[in-house]
């Protein structure tokens, strides 16, 4: 009875087909190649990729199909299932067709497998062995081209090996939106090439290497470094940005050699950006900090043992605790467990609430934690998606890919509101510009002119548009949004690796682990933590101002480089001059670490396990693959050691034990046990908070989640006709330490320059490329001024942190906008 019912149910959505004599049911519209694979029959293929539109280029997946008109050979990647279809993948005809295709493919494919990076994991090798004829009848000389030619700084192309499957070109055109490689010439001479003088400079070029079914595309950073059988592999989550792409981390002899994207439905679909993919080079860098050192009054470095350094750090923090105060800046690099350890150390042992994982370049933690959160899946299936502020292609590249794909397929209606034309603009249904300082008003106008946003589901992706503007305007804009679209959900586009995990663990003033405010959580945490600070502390800007005024004794830099990252270099300089001592815990000797009195070395990606949280709130496992250099230690161990030396005890023993404490203590993480995160099939991670099952609804729960109220709408700043408003935007490749320490990426960062509309150049009477004096309220600098018609009038655009000059020199953190006067020299 039930069988009959389910069979008729299937008939409405599925069709009955026969694969190799076995009757199976396949959903309508499924491709034969997928239906067969789902039922355990692998059909060989080269061009077909489940994340791309099929093209039927390689003809390898030919199988004998009978749809009632007699059996015939059809490419199974181009054929959808139909009722009563009979597929035979093992017939004599199918075998002959597949053997023939392989024999043809190998006519020109060189047999240089021993020197090919793909050898050992090559679909062409594997399928020739499994489906090939074993003998070739061709004795003619093979086609010859110049061996690998660089098609970009990261990718080599060996045209001899190419089998013209169209995977890379389809990826570049359809998925990445950078159609920079294409088939050229005809017939036997057909080859993939870039356009003349236009290299394959895509942020996603590494994916073409991963999906190439032969060794035609190889990555420069991995070239000849190892063979597949050398590699040990662990699955992990990339922490280059907060998207949290799933990666397979591969190493050999305790050295990271390659990341490969892992296909998970909810986040990255197997894609990675090049910054994430090749960022492993910075972990291997020989400039990594391998042990602690102290800097004495004469500014000379003194290498010391770990105990002496921890003692010195504890002394410095202890002095601040007893005197003017301690501030902890940073923590977005840490895994969740270390972030929790530092949150607990600051609150219970140091007794301060001055802790902030964001460097005054993000969004209000209260706002981010209290907004109803969307997932990436929500954002790619909602009726309307509104992207406000950031250029996702530069900041969160894989989120850009997902939204672009959803917009292209017509699933979502994408509306964009940004200062500049972004990578997403041409894929959006509507793309609006606004003027710095007027975001909230622009959002109000957007809502008024687009009433359809209020009907249907709406997801808002919101980030910090420009570090040159005071973030209050983003908060006011979100206030307008939540008032106008009460049902909208939000995806906060914060950029740093585990910044969401850090905020969830309370690395922000007034926030306790589990998205609870300090005041609301006082009773709950009072019973599990030994003590809590009395009042809400300072954020990064507040700490720096206090330090500059001499009201802070000790600054702890927890993987933070404020001199480079805080958008107000002058303030940081004054803070560093005014503070008593600086303790830095980092991977590299950054500009800020050079100013520290005590420096402790900590672990980097793949050197410690634990968990990380992406911008959706998705908790996923990190994998440990290699050992840290020298005496570098995990950040949670440093926190535990410091607590002990400061006369406290965090009672933290291992990553697993810390996680179980987080699960028990943090209200938003209730039920998210390690077993749930690590469960079979849970490679996608777990989005917190996990919805409570109805039978637990009555159970006592922790404190209420954090609340946030929007600031009042401020008047837009008045227009100064002589000035240009600065837009400090982020580029994917910049002067950040992790980029500069990766040799393959370091040179990709553009030099700092100021970009304006060509009309401004005419107004100033200078040529594009002229070096000019640029004056803000902070300082005067010399920059080259470049005209670009894509820039709106009245704005001056520069990278926040490009090599040469950082925009942070020009910015006053507390000013609503940054105005620049430009004069020719």
């Amino acid at each position: 009875m039930t069988d009959l019912a389910s069979a008729s149910e299937v008939n409405e959505t599925g069709v009955n087909i026969t694969i190799n004599g076995v009757r199976v049911v396949a959903p309508k519209g499924e491709l034969v190649i997928d239906a067969a694979e789902r039922n355990g029959v692998y059909i060989p293929r080269f061009c077909y990729h489940p994340r791309m539109e099929p093209v039927g280029m390689c003809r390898q997946c030919l199988v004998e199909v009978d749809t009632g008109r007699g059996p015939g050979l059809q490419p199974s990647c181009m054929l959808t299932v139909s009722d009563d279809m009979t597929v035979d993948t093992e017939s004599e005809t199918t075998k002959r067709a597949q053997e023939g295709m392989l024999e043809f493919l190998l006519v020109n494919h060189p047999l240089d497998c021993p020197v090919c990076d793909k050898g050992g994991e090559c679909p062409l090798q594997d399928q020739t062995l499994a489906f090939g004829p074993g003998e070739s009848r061709f004795v003619e000389e093979k086609r010859h081209y110049e061996k690998p030619i660089p098609i970009s700084d990261l990718v080599y192309l060996d045209r001899e090996r190419c089998i013209l499957c169209d995977r890379c070109t389809r990826f570049a055109k359809d998925i990445a939106g950078d159609p920079l490689i294409h088939f050229m010439h005809r017939g036997n001479e057909t080859q993939v090439l870039t356009f003349p003088d236009d290299p394959f400079n895509s942020y996603f070029s590494g994916n073409t290497v991963q999906i190439c079914p032969v060794g035609a595309l190889t990555a420069r950073p991995y070239r000849f470094r190892a063979r597949p059988w050398d590699l040990a592999e662990v699955e992990s989550t990339c922490t280059t940005c907060s998207v949290g792409c799933r990666v397979a981390v591969q190493s050999s002899r305790n050295e990271l050699l390659r990341y490969e994207g892992v296909d998970i439905e909810s986040v990255n679909h197997g894609w990675l950006c090049d910054k994430g993919r090749f960022g492993f080079e910075s972990v291997n860098s020989d400039q990594r900090l391998a042990g602690p050192y102290l800097r004495d009054v004469n500014n000379s470095d003194q290498l010391v043992g770990t105990n002496a350094a921890l003692e010195a750090a504890a002394t410095a923090i202890g002095a601040g605790r007893g005197g003017g105060g301690v501030g902890v800046i940073g923590g977005a690099r840490l895994n969740n467990e270390s972030a929790y350890a530092w949150s607990k150390l600051a609150r219970t042992v140091i007794g301060t609430d001055n802790i902030d994982a964001q460097l005054a370049d993000g969004l209000s933690a209260q706002m981010v934690l209290s907004l109803p959160r969307a997932t990436i899946a929500d954002a790619t299936s909602a009726d309307n998606v509104v992207v406000i502020g950031t250029d996702l292609k530069e900041e969160l590249p894989v989120l850009f890919l997902r939204l672009k794909g959803a917009a292209q397929s017509g699933r979502i209606k994408l509306t964009e509101l940004s200062l500049l034309v972004t990578g997403l603009s041409k894929h959006a249904s509507a793309s609006h510009r606004y003027v710095p300082g007027e975001l909230a008003h622009a959002v109000g106008e957007l809502l008024a002119s687009n009433p359809q946003l209020a009907s249907g589901s709406t997801v808002v992706v919101i980030g910090r548009p420009s570090a040159a503007d005071f973030p209050d305007e983003v908060e006011a804009a979100v206030g307008v949004l939540t008032a106008g679209l009460p049902l909208a959900t939000f995806l906060p586009a914060l950029r740093r690796g585990n910044v969401m995990g850090a905020l969830d663990m309370g690395l922000s003033p007034g926030v306790l682990p589990g998205r609870v405010s300090l005041d609301e959580g006082r009773d709950w945490f009072g019973s599990v933590w030994s003590s809590l600070p009395g009042e809400v502390g300072l954020d990064t800007a507040g700490m720096l101002e206090a330090a500059a005024a001499g009201r802070l004794d000790t600054l702890v830099l927890l993987g933070a480089d404020p001199l480079a990252d805080v958008p107000d270099r002058d303030l940081v300089e004054r803070a560093f001059a005014g503070v008593g001592s600086i303790v830095a815990i980092d991977n590299f000797v950054t500009e800020s670490v050079k100013r520290a009195n005590v420096v402790l070395a900590s672990t980097a990606f793949a050197e410690v396990g634990g968990t990380t949280t992406n911008l959706e709130g998705r908790v996923s496992r990190l994998g440990q693959m290699i050992t840290p250099p020298g005496t570098a230690r995990a950040d949670w161990m440093i926190a535990a050691e410091l607590a002990w030396r400061l006369g406290g005890d965090l009672e933290l023993e291992s990553l697993a034990q810390i996680w179980s404490e987080i699960e028990a203590v943090a209200p938003s993480h209730a039920g998210c046990t390690l077993e749930v995160v690590e469960a079979e099939g849970a490679i996608e991670g777990v989005v917190v908070p996990i919805p409570k099952s109805p039978d637990l609804a009555g159970a006592p729960s922790g404190p209420a989640s954090i609340r946030w109220s929007a600031p009042a709408l401020a008047e837009p700043p008045s227009v100064d006709g002589y000035s240009l408003r600065l837009v400090a935007r982020r580029k994917l490749y910049d002067a950040a330490t992790n980029t500069q320490m990766a040799p393959s990426l370091a040179n990709l960062a553009e030099q700092a320059q100021l970009m304006v509309h060509p009309g401004e150049l005419r107004r100033l009477g200078v040529e594009s490329g002229t070096r000019v004096n640029v004056t803000s309220s902070r300082t005067t600098v010399v920059l080259s001024l470049v005209g670009d018609a894509a820039m709106p009038r009245g704005l001056a655009v520069m990278g926040l942190r490009q090599p040469g000059l950082a925009a942070s020199e020009l910015i006053d953190l507390r000013a609503a906008i940054t105005e620049l006067r430009i004069e020719s020299r």
Binding site: D112, P114, V115, G120, G134, K147, R223, F224, A226
Partner: protein
């Protein structure tokens, strides 16, 4: 007569051919395909045959081989092609001389000599690096101070006949399988093989 019978056996043996060899002053002749210490071969033009493909390291059951490849310098290539063996090490404390590395090598770069007598004073000496393994300018194995080489031990070290030709083609069975080597040239055919013919100049290499 008892014990005299025993002496008679001894006495008779005095006039028979002696089976004892004065090892180590002299060595018994080794079979032609004996598995001794490895050498890394070079082509007749002096280029190294090793391309750093790591197939030997991959197949090694004792995991005693460590290889790393690198890009061939364009102006001064070490081996023909893109890639050469940048690091090549064999740990003879682990090697079991099974010859699978020789079988796996796609370029006949690694072969085994007939020399198996080496005594190390320390473990580091047991790890042979590329400098020690690669044949000298005459194509002969380099003799390390701790190795016992006799004349003739280095004969027929740098060739190996596969069960099939490198292409796997059964049609090539019976032809000389090896290519030209530094110091040896192209070998004369073994029993059952024919010399390379003029219209198949690469000697059946496929």
């Amino acid at each position: 007569m008892g014990y005299l019978d025993g002496f008679r056996v001894t006495f008779n043996r005095l006039f028979e051919e002696r089976v004892t060899t004065e090892y180590p002053q002299e060595k018994r002749p080794k079979p032609e395909r004996f598995h001794g210490r490895h050498v890394l071969n070079r082509y007749e033009d002096g280029m190294e045959k090793c391309i750093g493909c790591e197939l030997c390291a991959g197949v090694c059951p004792a995991q005693c081989i460590y290889v790393r490849g690198a890009d061939n310098p364009i102006d001064d290539p070490v081996s023909p092609g893109e890639r050469f063996g940048y690091v090549y090490e064999i740990n003879y404390l682990r090697c079991i001389h099974c010859d699978l590395c020789v079988e796996a090598c796609p370029t006949e770069a690694i072969t085994e000599s007939k020399m198996f007598e080496f005594s190390f004073a320390n473990r580091q000496d047991a790890i042979y690096t590329k400098d020690e393994l690669v044949v000298d300018d005459d194509g002969k194995p380099q003799r390390q101070p701790w190795e016992l080489w006799h004349d003739g031990d280095d004969a027929l070290t740098s060739g190996w006949m596969r069960a099939t030709a490198p292409s796997g083609s059964a049609a090539h069975v019976g032809q000389v399988g090896w290519s030209g080597e530094l110091g040896y040239g192209v070998r004369s055919p073994e029993l059952g093989q024919t010399a390379p013919s003029d219209d198949d100049p690469d000697g059946g290499q496929g």
